[in-house]
Every structure is written in structure tokens, then in C-alpha cells.
Amino acid sequence: MSPKNKDLDIKVEYVTRVEGHGNIVVDVKSGNIEKCEFHVVESPRFFEGMLRDRSIFEAQHITSRICGICSCGHTLASIQGAEDALGFKPSEQTIKLRKVLLDYEFLDSHLLHIYLLAAPDALGAPSFVPLIKTHNAVVRRALRMKKTCNDVCDILVGRHVHPISSIVGGFTKLPRPKDLDAMIDLFEGIRKDMEETVALASKLKFPEFYRETEYLGLVSDDEEYPLLSGDIGSTDGRRFAKKDYREATNEFVDPRSSAKFTKLSRESYMVGALARFNLNSNKLHPKAKKAAKDLGFKAPDYNPYMNTVAQVVEVVHCYEHALDILRDLRKKGINYSEELVVGVNEKGHIPVKAGNGVAAVEVPRGILFHNYEIDEKGLIKNANCIIPTNQNINNIEYDMMKLLPEIIDEGKEDIRLKMEMLVRAYDPCISCSAHYLDVKFVE
């Protein structure tokens, strides 16, 4: 059938192997694309509303529960926003340990996505379960690496899902020398697995599809690959201080739907591993640069499916970066007088004043903003979070609209699979985005 009079009706309800609930809707009538959309259908949870009148010292505990996968990322963003509002400056040691925690978060989340959510497509399986038989060593490696990331998180902050000891002001428990040794040893134990992960990535096949867009993420003037702090920057040469995050994200309601989208210099922008790679690849750890080179992966890359490969490169970066900091802390020693007991600041360890604080932190899926306005007692008056997946939805839809005509001659199942793979490549985290929902109602 020629594309000119092709009819196509694809509805993927609850895209599987993504975090949260999302639907794809494609409707083609006589070759005309009537609909090509990605809908978020998660039940709203009203986090910003629920935060009101709670203590700013509870914000981390509550917002970490926005998402189990991204709980360390939300924790770090929430703390940064709270400390910015309170005018508190964390110590150098605290910042180093927070960077390690963020590296752990990237490793854990990226590995889950690469192995369990994305790789089955590239290996032609509906999930990792059949891979237990066909690719047993790969599955075991994935679970082993995931467990290691989990174990180092347990040592550093009590657990990975909803970390315990990382709070406003610093840490309630600081790693002992034996803890630092244990984390270093655990990491060294998966060095070979790391190498094999890069080797696996070189074998994965991704569809050839290109759409240049604006790539947005943290930028900085120093030499470190910016994840925990920096300004907001884009590949179109824009730059904003984090307090001006609303100017960078420009949330708007699209006339096609009741959704709130984001954009900056073009119709849409992308955040996440590929965006960071395109912005900051020259600042990656030398071993991550080598991995990118071995994979033939160069910035700028305009294929969104390559987001998974960018995640592999970041896995190498975060692994080496965390090891460097851990070794440095082991050598210099940790100052345990910085250990804190905060609660809701009953003892007034941290001076409280009214204020407005903004956090901009790179988390696995892209740049995350938290914003808190607090009163003189430290109670939250207003809260706002802008989540990476929310920022990507607009870009996913523009990708889908360019992709569909390019593959319209293929069978319906192939089209459906490529669409699902595209959505999955962004590693969308819908639990996160649901608090600020972009549901679109068809019909």
C-alpha cells in the first residue's frame, strides 16, 4: 500500500519497561498523520500541594518519594533548594559526598535502563525474563552490577530507595574508613563488568534516525563534568543562572491539548544523557572519553535512540569519578565532627529565615529543578518542581512526528516497536512527571 492512502491506528496502552504509565497514540488516515502523541496517564499525586505548611527540613524526605528510581536525585535537588532558601552553605566534604551519591544514582538508574529496559529490544526479547535463558551471563552481570550500586548506596546513605542520612545541612552518618574501603572494593569488584558493559553497548543496534534539537543541561566554567551544580545552558548558546529556571523552561500550554510543555530557542528541547554528552563531552573522565571513542560515539549526535549509548558513557564516567573521590577521602580522612542530628531542626542547628531557593541538579534523565519559598519559621509556602521527563515529552512528540513518515512503509508491528523504543530511549520517568502531569485527552 502506498503511504499516500495508508491508514494506521496504533494505541499502545501502558508502554511497558518504562518507569510509570504512558500511552502512545498514532492515528493515520489516508496517509495524513492525524495524531502522533505520547500521553502520560499516571494518577496525579499533588506533591507541591502537599508540601505546603510542612517544615523545609522535611522536604527532602517527602520529595524523595516522588520517585523510587530517582529518589537520590530528588533528595539532592531538594536539599540544594532548601539550603538555597535558608542561605546555608554546605561544607566541602559534604559536597564531595553528595557528588559520590549522585554518581551512585546515575550508575544505578542507567544500568537498570541499559540492561533491563532497553537491551531486550536490541536483543529481540519482550523483557529480560526470556534473556535469563538465552543471555544468562548478561542478566547475571546486570543484576550483579545493580546489586553493587545498591550496596554502596546502603553504606553511604542507608539505602538507595529513599536515602536516609543525606539531609539539609549534610549527613546524619558519615562513612568510616572501613566503609570507604568497602565501597572502593565493591566498585573494583565490578571493573570487568564495566568493560563488558561497554563491549555489549558496541553490539546493540539502534534505528538510524536523526533530528537535531536544542540540548539543555547544566554548564560550568570549571573542568568537572557538571552534575551537581552549574548554570543552565543549551547547545544553542543560551545560559541562565539557576534562579532564572522559569526563563529557561518556558512552560506553556499547547493548543493541541491541555498539556504543559517546555521549550527554549526552538519548538522543543531535549534533556538527559545525550543532551549532557552533546553539551559537555569534553569534560568527561578520560576513561569515559575512551569508551565513547571505542563506541564511535561523537558529540554532537542527533539520534535520540543514542541516549542509551550516552548513558553507557556516563556509567563509565560516574564509576571512575566516584572512585576518584572515595580514594581522595580515604587518603585525607573524614571529619566526623560534621555529623548532624537535625530532625525538623528542633535544636536550631541551622539558622532559619524566610527565603526563596532554587535547585538545578542533573539527575539520570536530565536537569531537575526544585523551588521552595519558605516563611521565617521555615515552613514551606510554595513549592514547584520541573522534572526531566516533563521537559522531554514535547521533544519526544516532535521526534515521533518526524519518525513516523520515515517508517510509514513498514508493517504496523515494526512501526509500533520503533515508536516504543523511541519513547524508551528517553528512559521516561512518569512517576516523576505525574506530579505535574501532561495528560492529553483524545476523542
Partner: protein
């Protein structure tokens, strides 16, 4: 026989479902690492949307439910799942208590909907947060935010053998003392350990933080000891209520679980 039809094994069919939640509890299960493969050796996971594309259209031996019931669609969906399941396990605070989602119930429903979604708030259906047992019968509970993995394994073992599991009904302090943690009250902060069900091995106090009450309240708190704490540390009732509400607000509506 159609060529794609798989051979059905005799292993129990277990399905995982999520409602309004952060999906962190299913992640805890994924965090079992290679032990997960042993678990998969004794059960057949027939649905698990986050990590599988496969679907199942028959009955479930065990349904694992994560998340709270927060809209009309969810209410219908959980009833359907219940009708297809021999055993239903609610796991994680959102499912067992309403959890952090319950804080929504402290606000006028339409007010909080408007605050977050603005004028278009009616597009997003929302009902007061309910724990799973406020809608359907629950056979087993695994409390916690997130769930504590050793307890998940214990409850699964009981469920698969058809024997009961009793959630510990003593306070977190009982475990905290065994772990030789200094009392947080002595350090000047308010901890919900004395009122909260144990079973997590005092996970948060072990790491220097307070107990937030995520496992729900003990049925019979040691009243005198609790009274002593309240008097000794001059606890502010408003502050205490606020702290309990973080996880336990939804359970205020009714204390009687569905039979």
C-alpha cells in the same frame, strides 16, 4: 495447539501491580540482585509492567499491590484485580496505609487540585487517598517506605505456603535498642519510634535519622512510657500530629479494613 502458546508450569502465578506511588518498592525487589533469579525459580512472574512486556489473561495465585487508590479508575482496577486473585498482598506504605499520598487528605480536595494543576484541574480525576484495604480485602501486609526486603521474602514465603504472617506489633524502639543506637530524644529531636510498628530493624535511626512512622502505629503503644516521653520532652501536640500525618493520614477515615 497454536504455535505461540507457552507450556504452563505448575509454579504459582505472581503478578505485580502499581497504583499511585513512586514504584520504589518494586525497585527494592529488583535490588535483590542475583537472588532474584532464585525467587524466579519458584514462582512465575506473569505481569510486571515496569520490567516486562508480557501480559497474562487468567487468574493470579498472588497479586502484589503497590501504591494508593487515588481516583475512580484505580478503584475499579483494584476491584478487578482482587476478583482475579487468590491471594492479595499490599506492600509498601502507600498500599498499606495510604502513605505520603495521604497528606493530600489534609487539604480541601478541589483546593489542592487547583493549586497544582490550575484552571484545568478537572481534567485530572482525583479522590481522597485510600489504602488498598479501604477498597478491597487484603490478605497480607508488608509495611514500610520502602519495604524492608527480608520482610518481603518472609511474607512471600508465608503467602506461597498459605500460612499467616503477623506484622510485628511492638515499637521500633525495641529494635533500635538491640541495635545499640543512642536515643534520638536524648539528642533533642522528636522521633516516632515509640509509636511505630517494628519490623524494619530500625532502619532510619541506624543511619542517624529519626523514625517517620512509615510502618503505621502499633495497636497498643506502651501508654505510660509514651506519656513519659511526651512529658519529659514537652512534645507539642501539633508537631506530633503533623509528623504522624506524613504517612498515616489516609487511615483516619476508617480503621476497619475490608473483609
Amino acid at each position: 495447539m497454536p504455535k505461540n502458546e507457552k507450556k504452563i508450569s505448575n509454579k504459582p502465578k505472581v503478578a505485580f501491580f502499581d497504583f499511585a506511588c513512586c514504584e520504589g518498592c518494586q525497585l527494592q525487589i529488583a535490588n535483590m540482585g542475583e537472588d532474584l533469579l532464585d525467587l524466579l525459580g519458584v514462582i512465575d512472574v506473569v505481569e510486571f509492567r515496569e520490567v516486562m512486556s508480557e501480559k497474562w489473561d487468567k487468574d493470579y495465585d498472588v497479586a502484589m499491590i503497590e501504591g494508593s487508590i487515588t481516583d475512580h479508575h484505580a478503584e475499579e482496577r483494584i476491584k478487578k484485580i482482587r476478583s482475579r486473585s487468590k491471594v492479595l498482598i499490599a506492600y509498601g506504605s502507600c498500599a498499606t496505609l495510604g502513605g505520603v499520598n495521604g497528606m493530600k487528605n489534609s487539604f480541601e480536595l478541589d483546593e489542592i487540585r487547583k493549586y497544582v494543576y490550575g484552571a484545568g484541574y478537572t481534567y485530572f480525576d482525583s479522590t481522597p487517598t485510600k489504602a488498598v484495604d479501604q477498597v478491597v480485602k487484603v490478605d497480607y501486609y508488608v509495611h514500610g517506605c520502602p519495604v524492608y526486603l527480608p520482610e518481603v521474602v518472609e511474607v512471600l514465603k508465608c503467602a506461597l505456603r498459605g500460612i499467616p504472617y503477623s506484622v510485628p506489633d511492638k515499637p521500633v524502639c525495641s529494635e533500635c535498642k538491640l541495635n545499640e543506637n543512642g536515643c534520638l530524644y536524648e539528642k533533642g529531636v522528636v522521633c516516632l519510634g515509640p509509636w511505630t510498628k517494628a519490623g524494619c530493624n530500625s532502619w532510619c535511626p541506624n543511619n542517624g535519622n529519626i523514625c517517620y512512622g512509615c510502618r503505621g502505629l502499633v495497636k497498643n503503644p506502651a501508654k505510660n512510657a509514651a506519656k513519659n516521653i511526651i512529658e519529659k520532652y514537652r512534645l507539642d501536640p501539633v508537631l506530633m500530629k503533623n509528623k504522624f500525618d506524613m504517612y498515616n493520614k489516609a487511615k483516619e477515615a476508617t480503621n476497619e479494613p475490608k473483609k
